[in-house]
Symmetry: C2
Subunit: 338 residues, 2 copies
């Protein structure tokens, strides 16, 4: 027979009610009491019946997370962090990827598995304001990422303009003047790169450098092959940057591959900065300088937003949260430490 | 108002029953008829009510997938493939990661979110035979990966011994004789690398080469840092292989980073082969030769197994399926094409 609340209460020398308060994450339990009960829980191997607990509250204990692609390590790392953050609140995560397609994003947003989901965290690429305004599903929705919306939903994103400016500022500080931007889409209302592109422009202007649009290389997608192709196209056009700021690490890695193939040295001939700080960036032949968004904070805030909408703040004003970011400087701009 | 079955039937010029047969994936519909109905569905933007359809059959339309870690691109790529394969059968995927911990694997296996899950696909690391035999949950369970079990569940894995042998054979063919194996665990009953290690030994024997156990480098985990550390330890011990066969691509990539730091050239001084064919392997400064498991086939077979257990073959004998694999030869063994 399993361990009961009563067993835990006896072991901890407290009332069953106190154990219940701890297990259910209710407030008004002192940290000392919480630790004492937790110790008894751990010693006895007590497992609360989470399903029953969620069902009592009319919930399933499942949060959906929809990202553009799991094949992109940034989203895989973010998904890992969300799964862990959700687990700390006894939630599990239903994960889906949208391939960045508007139709799939709308489908997810309009009511993806509504019978089993308490809330949704969505990282959209193509979704429009009107799609969000047309949403009829009433479960909590939290938006992640660079797109800006005028819609009544919580939105979590780092300050992409400031982050891009810090990357460009670093390149200028090491003496670079012809800094290419890799990974813009063709200009449109749906320019996912617009904030990072704005940061690139603003920082060049602040330094008194021209922003030469021939240095902006559009890509069709967000992968290594897209970065490689954009870099090759730039070089084939005779454009010769002394630095590259890429929309993300994958594109930067693809670009570095092409620079190597063309006999250009990183960073001596071309310094490279990426964005995302995926683990891969730390282990290449040339480690990558990159903007590191605080993925743990993004995940934690996203889960907290969903849960607080489910509990005490369903009607609160939509929040705009800004997790932090760092510039992590590595060999692709500073060279290898000899 | 939405598009109905009747609208589709009128557009396609067929009966409502025929449209229903197509939408529900029933057999006995000719490909031509299926195409005709599908065209009408696409033109009208008809969306079948999948939830209702699953619920009519007493199902939720959700398959759980539990992998050791999403941060490992192999599992992220596999998860993508499973999500896509499931979507083709109108299933969505509840994804969880177990961190390769036995307790988490047991929890998942014993009845993870049973109220919302039709079946489970699990890639275990530490799970034991006895854990599987003790399983009381009756929903279909499909096992993935290298561990071998004597348990009544479908199991899908490539032929790891043959795959490892092909990697070692290639290294011998290019003249290497001191081939290190990176990524074994300390010897134990739970040696996840045992089949690849066996392939390494068998192929060396077949070539009349000794298998020098000082060339086997154990690691604590499966990541880039583990491969880097194992490579550094080997070199620090004065062991000087002319080739490395790594348990996976991540470890191979970590090892290549250390070889570069020590001034050893890949492949001239040390040739390197990995395992998994993650996309990262195609874009490093030195592209990686690797064993490529057919991830699409693994995903498709896993989803098919779950679904067929739910429908017509609940009582069939457990299956052992062997998806294919290839050796993909790149610069880390053949050098760069000049």
């Amino acid at each position: 027979m399993g361990v009961s609340l009563k067993d835990v209460a006896q072991r901890a020398g407290v009332s069953v009610k106190t154990v219940s308060n701890v297990v259910n994450d209710y407030p008004h339990v002192t940290p000392a009491m919480r630790a004492r009960v937790q110790q008894a829980i751990d010693e006895l191997g007590y497992r609360p019946n989470l399903t029953a607990r969620h069902l009592r509250k009319g919930r399933t204990g499942i949060i959906a997370l929809a990202v553009p692609e799991l094949g992109n390590p940034y989203f895989a790392e973010l998904a890992s962090a969300v799964i862990d953050a959700a687990a700390r609140h006894h939630y599990t995560v239903l994960l889906d990827h949208t391939a960045g397609m508007r139709e799939k994003e709308m489908l997810v947003c309009q009511g993806f598995q509504t019978h089993v989901i308490d809330g949704l965290i969505l990282s959209p690429i193509e979704l429009e304001n009107q799609d969000l305004h047309g949403r009829t599903d009433t479960s909590p929705l939290v938006l992640l990422g660079e797109r800006e919306y005028d819609a009544p939903y919580d939105h979590i994103a780092i300050d992409n303009v400031a982050a891009a400016r810090s990357a460009v500022r670093h390149l200028i500080a090491i003496g670079r003047q012809r800094i290419a931007f890799l990974g813009a889409r063709a200009e449109s209302a749906r320019q996912p790169a617009h904030l990072r592109l704005r940061g690139w422009r603003e920082e060049l202007s602040a330094a008194g450098l021209p922003h030469d649009d021939s240095l902006v290389a559009p890509t069709d997608g967000y992968g290594r092959a897209d970065g490689a192709q954009a870099m090759a196209t730039l070089l084939d056009r005779g454009v010769r940057p002394d630095a590259v700021f890429a929309y993300n690490d994958l594109q930067a890695i693809g670009a570095m591959r092409v620079l190597g193939e063309r006999g250009l040295r990183v960073p001596q001939d071309v310094a490279v900065v990426g964005f995302d700080d995926i683990e891969e960036s730390r282990f290449g032949a040339i480690t990558l300088t990159t903007v590191a968004p605080d993925k743990q904070a993004i995940a934690r805030q996203a889960v907290n937003c969903v849960i607080s909408r489910l509990t005490d703040s369903a009607e609160a004003e939509p929040r705009r949260l800004r997790p932090g970011h760092d510039l992590v400087v590595r060999e692709s701009t500073l060279g290898r430490h000899q």
